[in-house]
């Protein structure tokens, strides 16, 4: 079952659409804060739900805790997006924000400034990326408010009813780096195999739209 979910061309096209979507999101963030984001090649992975947490940990390979911006979505495709940074990355990135424009008041406690900075970045990157991705695939999605958590426990992000042991998890991921200060981040878009038919329909529409222009 796992091997049959997507054809090689479908996998490659989904990876390419995430490449386009995250490129657009990076450009949007770069307009807000003067930063250059080095992009990586996106990858799609299909695993059992039981293997999902270890797959994510293998990909990120970061020490200690992680600061994770999570955003759930539902509709044509249902799942969760995780934007993962090393704990403390927000403080590294804070210098990029013009304080008067960013809405991050310096009067709030230092430990919360870290999270506020990452929420600002997460809002833009996740919002722009997901909107673009599902626009390319012509899939209607409803987004829920994002949250930020500092943790090493990923299981809390996976709704047990949606990520049952009998399901396969479909993960689209990409890595990126804020070049000037060497902060690395990871974006994971995670759904289950029930979303595969929506993805396949979306891919057909994507190919049609490219050939029509």
């Amino acid at each position: 079952m796992k091997q049959e979910i997507f054809t090689p061309l479908e996998i490659d096209t989904l990876q390419e659409t995430l490449n386009i979507a995250f490129g657009a999101a990076s450009a949007e963030l770069a307009e807000v804060i003067d930063i250059f984001i080095a992009l990586d090649t996106p990858r799609l992975n299909v695993s059992t739900v039981g293997q999902l947490e270890s797959y994510i940990l293998d990909q990120i390979n970061l020490p200690a805790n992680y600061a994770i911006v999570e955003q759930h979505f539902s509709g044509g495709v249902t799942g969760v997006t995780l934007l993962i940074f090393p704990e403390g990355a927000g403080l590294e990135l804070l210098s990029y924000f013009n304080k008067s424009e960013s809405g991050i008041p310096l009067t709030i406690p230092l430990e919360n400034i870290d999270k506020e900075a990452l929420m600002e970045i997460g809002n833009i990157l996740i919002g722009a990326c997901m909107s673009k991705l599902y626009e390319l695939l012509d899939i209607n999605i409803k987004f829920y408010p994002p949250r930020i958590t500092v943790t090493r426990d990923f299981k809390q992000f996976f709704d047990e009813e949606f990520f049952e042991e009998t399901h396969y998890a479909i993960t689209l991921k990409t890595n990126f780096k804020f070049e000037d200060n060497d902060v690395t981040g990871h974006l994971f878009i995670i759904t289950n195999d029930e979303s595969s038919s929506s993805f396949k329909e979306g891919l057909n529409k994507f190919w049609e739209s490219i050939n029509e222009r």
């Binding site: 061309l9 390419e16 490129g23 657009a24 450009a27 250059f36 090649t41 490219i210």
Partner: protein, 113 residues
């Protein structure tokens, strides 16, 4: 693969060209050095070696190489970097037939001067 298929299809609709493909930046540089193509379409986000590095090496091999960079990376700094490295054109993804044909028009115009 998907991106290469799209571009190859659009080029074939434009005219009768021999098309040589590469799966990553390192292969792209090797193919360029072996085949000396008239034009090169180069992605920025590639495995093994990214497009910035590949472009730099291609231009070092032949400073007159005509390279059109294709990328989802629409950051202004990426575009500036690509132009500094000597790319002739920057084409923002998603790639369309119109964008590729327009690029080929421009590349051909340079060659025929």
């Amino acid at each position: 693969m998907a991106a290469r298929m799209m571009i190859t299809g659009f080029i074939q609709k434009y005219g009768d060209y021999e098309i040589i493909e590469a799966a990553n930046g390192k292969e792209a540089v090797e193919q360029f050095r072996s085949n000396a193509p008239d034009f090169t379409f180069l992605d920025l986000t590639m495995p093994v070696m990214d497009g910035f590095e590949a472009l730099k090496l291609i231009k070092e091999s032949d400073r007159k190489a005509l390279v059109a960079v294709l990328s989802a990376d629409a950051q202004q700094k990426a575009i500036e970097r690509v132009k500094e490295l000597g790319a002739m054109l920057f084409i923002e993804k998603p790639v369309t037939e119109k964008k590729i044909h327009s690029a080929l028009d421009k590349l051909k115009a340079v060659v025929s001067k």
